[in-house]
Each structure stands twice: as C-alpha cells, then as structure tokens.
Symmetry: C2
Subunit: 691 residues, 2 copies
C-alpha cells in the first residue's frame, strides 16, 4: 500500500513540476507591444488586488474555522458509542491542520492558475498576430498550468495526510478545507465577474452604444478581471473540490464497507488514490494530443484531448484491475462514469449549440421581443435537465448493479464511477481554463487596438472555448451529482459507525421535513448570489454613468476612465455578499442535524442534491443557450446586429449571465460543502442524538 502512496505522491510531484515548467514557458513568450502590455497590466493588477483581498478574508475564515474544528474534534467522539468521551487534543489539532492544508492547496492552485492566465492572455493575443496555432498553444498550455497544478497538489495532499494518519476521516478535513475555499472563491468570483459584465454591457453597449471591450468603458477592465477571477480561479477551485471530495468519499466507503476484512479494507481505501494517480498520468499523455489539426479548428482539438485521455485511463484501469486482483465491479463502475460523463457533455451541447433547434428557435422567437425570448430559453433550459438526469440515473444504476453483480459493494461502485469521471480532471480543467484566457485575449486585442485579423483569430479561439465548456460542464455537474451521492452514503456510514442505525425513509415525516428544507436551499442560495449581482451591478452602473457625465472626455477618447474605481466596487461588492451564502452552506446543515436529528439531516442532504443538480443544469444550460441565441442573431439571422431580435437576444444573454456564471456553477460546490460539513460533523450530531 505504501508503494502506491509513494507512487501517488510522485505522480503529483511530476504533475506539479510540469505545471511549473509550463508556467515559465508561458512567461517566456512574447508579451507584445507596449500598448498591449499596458492593457494587460491593468487586468493583471485588478485581478491581483481582488485575489489579495479575497485570500486575506479567506485566511481569517480558515483560521476561525480551524480553531472551531480543533476544539470540537479534541473530544474524541470516535468513542462515543461506548459511552465515554476521551479528550484528545492531538486529534483536534490534526484535523484542523488537515483542514487548513486543504484550503491552502486549493488556494495555491487557484493562484497559480490566475497568475499564469493574466500573463497568457496578452501573450496569446500577441501570438495570434503570428498564427492561430501558436495562440492556441499559449492559451492551452496556460490552462494546463491550472489543471496540472490542481490535480498534483490534490493528490499530494490527500496521500500525505492519509499516509501520516491512516484515517480517512482526517482526509475528510482536508476535503472540507478545499471545498470551503472553493465555495467562497466560486461564488465570490461569480458575483464579481457578472457584476462587471452586466454593468459594462448595459451602459456601454445599450446606453451609449460603444462596442464590447471598448477601452472608453470604465468597467471594461473590471469585466476582464472578472473573466479571470470568476472563470479561471473559481472554476478551478470548483473542480478541485469535486475531485478531492469524490476521492475522500470513496476512501471512507472503502474503510467502512470492508471493515470486516483488514486486507480488503486497506486495498479499497487506497484504490481511489490509485485511480487518481492513473488519471494524472493519462492526462499528462492526453495533453500531448491537443493540437490544432490541418483543418485549423481548435474546438475538436480540445475534445480530442478529453476523449483520448478517457480512453487511456480506461486501458490503465483494465490492466490495473486484471493484474492487481481487484474486483471487476470497480472496472465497470469506472467505465460507466467515464462514458456517462462524455455522453452527458455531448447531449448538453444539443441545448446550447447554434446547430440545433433550441438555440435557433429561441433566436427566431426573439423577433417577437425579449419576453418571448426569455420564456422560450427558460423552457428549453428546463427540458435540458432531462437527458442529464437520465444519464446520472443510468450511471448510478449501472455502477451499482454491475458492482453488485460482480459480487461487490454497489454503493462503493457508485462512488468509483464519480472518481472515474473526475480522475481525468487534469485534462478537463486544462480545456476549461483555456476558455477565459482566449476570451481575455480577445478583449486585449480590442482594447490595445490590434488588427481586425488578430481579433478574428481570437474570435475563432473563443468559440472553441465555448464548445469545450459544454463537455466540461457535463462532466463537472454529473460528477458532482455522483460525488454527493457517494458523500451521502459516507455520511450514513459515519453515523452508523457511531452505533446509530440510520434509516432515511421517505415515509418518515421527519425525513420529509429534512428533504423539503434541503430542497429549498439551492434555490435560496442561487437567489442570494443573483441578488448580489443585480445590487452590485446597479451600483456600478451608477458609477459608470457618473464618470461619463462628469468627464465627457472619456467618451470622446481623450481621457482615460477610472478603471480602478470599478474594479474596487466589484471586489468589495462580491466579498461583502458572501456572508449569507456561506452561513447557509455551513451552519444550516449542522442546525438541521442538531434540531431535527441525523435522519432529517440525511433527508436534507438528499433534498439539496435533487434540487441542486436540477437548478445547476437549468441555469448553466439556459444561460449558455441565451448566450448563443444572441450570437446566432449576430451572424445575421433574423435581422442581425441592431435589429429588434438582437435587442431581445441581448436581454436574454444578460439574464443568462448570472444564471450560467454565478448561481449555476456555485451549486455543485454548495451541495458538496453541505455534504462534507454533514459528514465531518456527523459524530457531533450523533452525539447530540445519543444524549
């Protein structure tokens, strides 16, 4: 077993090493003209300012939570079933350190991803002057820094903590640290980016009629900073958190399901770490396949990389299972996870691509105004839930029953299907982080006054990012659903290991009460983050209008707007809006558990998963659909730019912005955090229940 842990750490170090190498490679590329560098420096400084403030706030939160954890876990509740409570300060401190380590790893990955992204944007734009291939390479390798750093740090962290403590519950602390940070980074970044985006668009494009990314717009820098803090740092933290949580959930399941047989127990507790190790190797190989082919299309290049990585991992797992004497069930489960991830990604593409009916129909009805556009897009968003839910159901049932049929633990199989999906995260994050980088490159090209040819190249690169996003979103949402199902099982195991039989029956009204409370949490969380966006955007709109009014030179192009003021407004707004959502995620589950008991908390987690997945799918897909319906009209259909249909399309796009970039993607992290909090504090809740 120790051999595997060493291999895992080595793989993590290699991954991290490649990330560092690519980091410097990107920085060695041509940083472009002086003008371009100046524009890029505004974005870089804005992003760094926000990150500094965010991490300062997060450090305080992490220390406070760490102290709480250290105190609470000093009461060695592992023994509570036997009726006596030992006080073990060392366990409390270990748990707190593990928690802080998780938060720190997540933060470092986010920070590396961000700093390379704000260096890569201008370099990619500059390279677009040479050719598309070069520009693509810069952006994708920069994205890979994030992807590889993330998986590397995660596996090093989890393996070391487990190696030292041999206790998967302590690794749960690591996971909670990573997720707590992810939630704040994701929600904060999501609020930031859409505040700036909406304000910039509404005043810039709609009111005064200047184009996207026009340097006369005081919010343009904040908007581009937002792409980085929201999409790069936030999204990376998001997948980091699912990646770690699914692995830990399966480690916990391995430790409890096979508790009767020590050899089996160790074997299957470590197995998810092995799967991650193989996934890292597969990603390192898969990244080599990401090259723009002779057709000059970057979209297929990204998808090719993802599919190759999955295929390579599948081969690895077949060899591992056959050679290592693992049960065939884990093989079926891994394959079920990988196939489902790809299938869900491709079907969700149907609802957001300009090639199919939903987007075209939404664009068509836009000729009758904004309201019809909204209703139609929202309705297709609701329909888009169906294939993904069926996919998740099929993956759950397949991995469960194929594992059972192989004489194995079904619920362990469900967890493995999630880990199987997420094992390729190194590759997934690399393609996903590519998107905002080229989006930014386009912005810089525009602001720095580069040629139309460069802007066109940037547009092609940008469109490819959106296609890749569909598949990675399919992965991340379905993986999150399977992860929380595994965490849900882990929660039940932790409670039962404390000597409490746990039946979470829907015929029990306490459970139904829990489910209803859990089910309302994701919609409430979405509302809080979206209201934060509109409130902050409203303030920023006032600021932009004031600047235009008081400094007529700005619009004339003779005076530089005060970018920093908008950057500051966005940052302050985002950070101060995080308090309520964070309390909801961390305190509410514990409260439900203590007041209504562990069965109700089980129902609560179930309810939050059901609506969490549904709202995440609805919001992500509807948002993407509106975005592309507008873009479709902009290609000249139904009247093209400037027509009434286009105005309606812009309204839909703006509504979709916080749907797809603020509320939707935070929901994965929300349900993960709530499941982790519940599992982590399960012993405490069980203790309340016993007294």
């Amino acid at each position: 077993m120790v051999t595997w842990l060493i291999l895992a750490i080595v793989a993590g170090l290699i991954s991290l090493g490649v990330a560092v190498w690519l980091y410097f490679w990107v920085h060695r590329q041509d940083p472009g003209t002086e003008k371009a560098q100046e524009v890029a420096s505004w974005i870089r400084d804005g992003a760094k300012t926000y990150l500094r403030r965010l991490y300062t706030a997060l450090t305080l939160v992490a220390i406070a939570l760490g102290i709480v954890i250290a105190v609470v876990f000093s009461f060695d509740i592992g023994h509570i079933g036997m009726g006596d409570i030992d006080v073990s300060v060392s366990r409390g401190i270990t748990m707190a350190l593990s928690f802080i380590l998780g938060a720190v790893c997540s933060a470092i990955a986010g920070y590396m991803g961000m700093t390379v992204a704000v260096a890569a944007n201008v370099r990619s734009a500059t390279a677009a002057n040479v050719n598309l291939n070069k520009a693509f390479k810069v952006a994708f390798y920069a994205g890979s820094v994030m992807g590889l750093a993330m998986v590397g740090l995660a596996i090093i962290g989890m393996s070391s903590v487990y190696w030292i403590t041999r206790d998967p519950e302590i690794v749960l602390g690591f996971s909670f640290g990573a997720s707590a940070l992810a939630l704040l980074a994701k929600a904060g970044g999501g609020i930031y980016t859409k505040t700036a985006d909406i304000a910039a668009d509404l005043v810039g494009k709609v009111e005064v009629g200047i184009p996207e990314d026009d340097p006369r717009n005081p919010a343009v820098v904040a908007d581009n900073v937002g792409d980085n803090v929201g999409d790069v740092a936030g999204m990376g933290a998001d997948i980091f958190d699912s990646y770690v949580a699914s692995t830990v959930a399966v480690m916990l399941l391995g430790a409890s399901v096979f508790a009767g047989d020590q050899m089996m127990q160790v074997k299957y507790t470590v197995f998810p770490l092995i799967l991650c190790t193989l996934g890292i190797v597969a990603s390192l190989i898969g990244i080599q396949f990401v090259r723009v082919g002779k057709d000059g299309k970057p979209g297929p290049a990204l998808n090719r990389g993802t599919i190759f990585t999955c295929a390579i991992l599948a081969v690895f797992v077949i060899i591992l299972v056959l050679a290592g004497g693992y049960n065939l069930g884990v093989l079926w489960a891994t394959l079920a996870g990988l196939v489902t991830g790809v299938v869900i990604g491709l079907t969700s593409d149907y609802f957001t691509s300009t090639d199919y009916k939903p987007v075209i129909e939404t664009a068509r009805v836009s000729t009758s105004g904004a309201a019809i556009n909204i209703i139609t897009g929202f309705s297709y968003g609701l329909v888009s839930i169906v294939p993904s839910i069926i996919g998740i159901v099929v993956a759950t049932l397949l991995s469960y029953f194929l594992s059972e049929a192989a004489g194995f633990s079904g619920i362990y199989g469900v967890g493995i299907s999630a880990v199987g999906m997420l094992a390729v995260s190194g590759m997934i994050v690399s393609s996903d982080a590519y998107g905002p980088i080229v989006d930014n490159a386009r912005g810089i090209a525009e602001m720095a006054g580069m040629s139309q040819e460069v802007i066109d190249t940037a547009d092609v690169l940008d469109a490819a990012g959106n296609t890749a996003k569909a598949i990675t979103k399919g992965f991340s949402i379905s993986a999150a659903a399977l992860t929380v199902l595994a965490l849900f099982a882990a929660y039940a195991e932790v409670i039962e290991s404390r000597g409490i039989a746990l039946t979470i029956s829907l015929r029990d009204p306490i459970v139904v009460a829990g489910v209803l409370l859990g089910a309302m949490t994701p919609p409430l969380f979405s509302a809080l983050t979206m209201l934060a966006v509109t409130n902050n955007a409203f303030d920023m709109i006032e600021e932009i209008r004031t600047q235009f009014r008081e400094h007529p030179g700005i619009l004339a192009g003779t005076e530089l707007p005060d970018y920093a003021k908008c950057v500051g407004l966005a940052a302050e707004g985002a950070l101060s809006s995080l308090v309520m959502p964070a309390l909801l995620a961390v305190v509410f589950p514990i409260l439900v558990g203590i007041v209504l008991g562990p069965e109700a908390l089980g129902g609560f987690l179930g309810g939050s998963i059901f609506t969490g997945v549904i709202f995440a799918l609805l919001m992500s897909n509807a948002g993407g659909l509106w975005d592309n319906a507008k873009k479709y009209i902009e290609t000249g259909e139904f009247g093209g730019v400037g027509s009434d249909a286009h105005k309606a399309g812009v309204v839909g796009d703006t509504v979709g912005d916080p749907f797809k970039d603020t509320a939707g993607p935070s929901l994965n992290t929300l349900i993960t955090v709530m499941s982790l909090v519940s599992s982590l504090f399960a012993p405490i809740i069980a203790a309340f229940h016993l007294f």
Copy 2:
C-alpha cells in the same frame, strides 16, 4: 355512520341549491347596454366554443381511460397477495363508473362556473355604473356559484360512491376522474389564456400602441375568453381536484391505519367527509360576511370572509371532536392546517404586494432595463419559496407529532391537516373566481366604451381580486403539498395491503433513481406548457399582424377585426398541446413503477412533490411579483407609464404571465394526478413486482 353520509349528501345538495339560486340571481341582474351586451356575447360565445371543444375531447379521453380501467380492475388484484387472481368484471365496471362520475362532476362544476362568469362580467360592469358595492356583489356571488357548486358536487359524489361500495379504493377512482379532467382543463386553459394575453399585449400595446382591452385588437376577445377558461374553469377544476384527493387520501389512510379495529376503521374512514360537510356549512355562513364595509375596500371584505369561515370551522371541529369522542389529534391537525394556510397566504403576500421591498426593488431596478428586472424578480421568486416551505414543514411536523402525542396515527393527522385546509374551499374558490370576473368586467367596460368612472371602479375591484388571490394561492399550494404527502402515504398503504413490505429509503439507489426521475417531471411539464404558449402566441401574433396589414380599417376604427379567428387559434393550439403533458402525467409514473418497481415509484412520487411544490411557488410568486412591479411603475413611480422602466416592467410582466397562469398552477394538479395514478394502479404495479 349512514347518518353522517346522509348529512353530507344533504349539505352537498343545499350547497348546490344555493349555487343554482345564485346562478339565476346573477342572470336576473341588469345585462347593460346593447353595446355592452354585444361585447359580452363575443366573450360568451368564444368561451362556450372552447368549452365545447374541450369537453368533446375530454369525453373521448374519459371513455378511453374508463375502458382501460374497467378492463384492468376486472382482475381482482385485491387477492393477489394470496397468489390467485379472481376475475371480477363488476369491480372493474364499478371503478370505471366511479372514474367517469368524478370527471363528470368536475366538468359540471367548471361549466356552471364558466357560464355564470361570462354572464356576470357584463352585469358587474353595468352595476359599477350604479355603485361599487353592487358591482362587487354581482361578481362575488357569481364566484360563489362556482365555489358552492364545486364542493356540493364533490361531497355528493364521494359520499354516494362510498355509501354504495363501502370501498375507499373505488372512491379513489372518482378522485382520479376529477383530477384527470382538472389537469387537462387547467393546463389547457392556462395555455389558452396566456397565448391570447401575450399575443394581444405584444402586438397591441407594444407594436401599435393601443391600450389594453382596445376593441381594435383582434385578440382582445380571445384574451377575455382566456380569463374565463383559464382562471375560472381551470382554477375551479384545480381546487376541486385537491379537495377530493385529500379527502380520499385520508379515507384510504383511515381504512388501512385502523384496519385492526372495525369500529375505529369506519369512524375514521368517514371522518374526512364529516370535516368537508362542516366546511360547507362554515362556507355558507362565511359568505354572508363578505360585504364591502364603510371604507369601500373590497379586498379586506374577501379576506374577512376567508378568516371568518376558518374560525367558524374551527369552532365546529372543536364541538365535533369533544362531543363525538374523536381523538384530540384530529383537532390539532385540523387547526394546524387552517392556521398554516392563512399564514402561508399572508407571507406570500409579502413577495407580491406593492407595499413591500421585493416588488418595489424589482420596480426600482427596472430603470436599468428588462434583464435586471427579470433577474431580480426571478431571484425574489426563489426566496419566496422559503416561508411556504417552512410553513409546510411546520404543518407536517405539528400535525404529525401532535397526533402522535395524542396517542393517534401521525400520518393520518398529516392528511387531516390538508382536509382541514381544503374544507373551506367553498369560500376560497368563491373569492378566487371573483378575480377573473372583475378582470373581465373591466375589459368589457373598456371595450363597450363605458365612462372613465366605471373603469376606475372596475380597477378598484380588480386590485382586490389580486390581493385575494395571494391568500387563496397560499391555501391551494400548501394544501396540495399536504394532500400529496397524504396520498404518498396512501400509496404505500395500498402497496403494503398487497403483502409487499415497502421501504422507501434514500440509501437505496433504486429509490434515488426514482426520486431523480420524479424531480425532473415538474420542470419538464412546465417547459412543455410554456413552450406551447410561446409557439401558439407566435402564431397568433402573425395572425394579428396580418389582420392589421390587410385591413387598415381595423386600426382606424372603421372595420371590426376577425375576433373568431384568434379565438379559434387559441383553442386549437391549447388542445393540441395537451397530448404530451397528459401522457407524462399518466403514463410515466406507471412506467417507472413497472420497470423499476414500487420502491422506485415511491421515490418518484416523493421527488415530484419536492420539485413540484418548489416550482409551483417560484412560478406563481415570481409571476405575481412582476405583474405588480409593472403596476407599481404605472402608478407613476420610477418614470411611470411609457418610461424605460415601464418598458422593462412590461417585459417582466409578460415573462411572468405563463409562469403564474400556465405552468405554476398546473403543477399542483400534476403532482396530484401522478400520486392518484400511482395509488390507483398500485395493485397492478405490486402484481408485476410479485411475479
């Protein structure tokens, strides 16, 4: 027991008698000027045409379903637990007849309500010429025709079927008949009304700039017809269905929970019918209190009626329980239901009234455009879920645990709290049907060119309808939630009575699969109905534009538009859009039960309840909020009529239309129908499971 059944039928007959008397009273009122009568006749004819088509289609559906039921239930599956199947054709035919009776009763109530509504609208408008009080009385008494006919027919039907068969499962057939009809009437009416409303507004108000209800608009008649078929007939069928379903669910629970003691069994099987009887008497008294006071405000008059009716019923129940030797648990449960209904109604008022922050804030941000208005309104809609869900949770837990504490069946208590809430439906429907009648009266006043004073009076009456709607919606949604929780319990009892132990545990992946499939059904159903609205509205918009283009005399006021064409388009569109939603409601649950088993179907029902309630609350409240935000701007705030804020408000209002009048209110009926189908076909599903 027979005495109680006789009393129930007598109360039903009295209620029906009063309804008939009021029906003729309304018809005796002054039908107004020739012009007004002509306008009213367009609406009446349009409504009757639609109803004729709808009922023709429904007759075919009812006969087809009746035959299926007769065949399926001829296999006496009650004996299946013993391994042999008797063929009992008489049971099959009885069940089919009960089903058809339910459908017929629901149809008659809807038809009476509709015909009186289309007679009352013009009479109320004419009376507004005299004074507000008179106009109010005409409209409210017309609404009472619907309310009293409905509860009268329901209790007569249920009591007779039970008296003849002594089998609550046969009464379930009656309930299914009522609900199947309700679903089609509600969804069809909802699609009809919003198709016409949106099309009329978008071309009339937005494109050519003529006011609401202008007779030059070709869709104006269809719009007013829609208010009747959607709000009067559809809503009546909706509450009819919850009313019957909750009563039947508790009858089933009474029969199974107390199966060990025959006296108790009979007593508590009949109890819900007694509660309904008392509720009818209370409503008949409560209606007397609905008088506009000296302040001249009709809104408080309606709410006073509701609250007095609740209080009277509470007194009745206290006497009944103490004198009749019933367990105190049913008293607590009834009170919990009544109080929760009122509280939920009042809190939902917070989110939709122009007096509080959500509406004002949504109006304020409208100054920044339609997109921000949509995001803000939608977010408050999400927040509005919270108090209602907490109310439902509290009502469930209170009625459960107070009943248990009284040494009684907790789950029976939950059912009673739903029946308690719905027992006052006679009063609730009366105030609710009042709304569309005065809305129509306003339309007729405008179209018939009555004086501004009359229109102002009609406006006051209309606004009161909206306030009343908030409380009745709170009742209907929370009652539907408690009803389906009781039906859910009834489903489990029916399955267990066939000798299958049913554990619906969230730790079982088959159950989780069922929950996920069930949870996605309400959003999918909403999407199908809303897409039907936008598709049909799109066609009607084309028709209106064509009429304006080809007959310039219409806009000049010299030529009458072709109203009938728009009426026909709306009717055809609505009816043909019902096929998919209906199949989803009836076939999907049976399919899940047969393929995945009774546990999965249990999970499915649970999942559909959770998201059904959440989406119903979201859509109803967000829709009401947008509507009132627009009205708030129209009072002169934030720029008033014609300002940019107003344009944004109109977009929000239009988006909210199908939310609050098509998709939202159909969801109650959807989850009831799915629960009823499952309970009714539970023996068949159990049989599949046993072989």
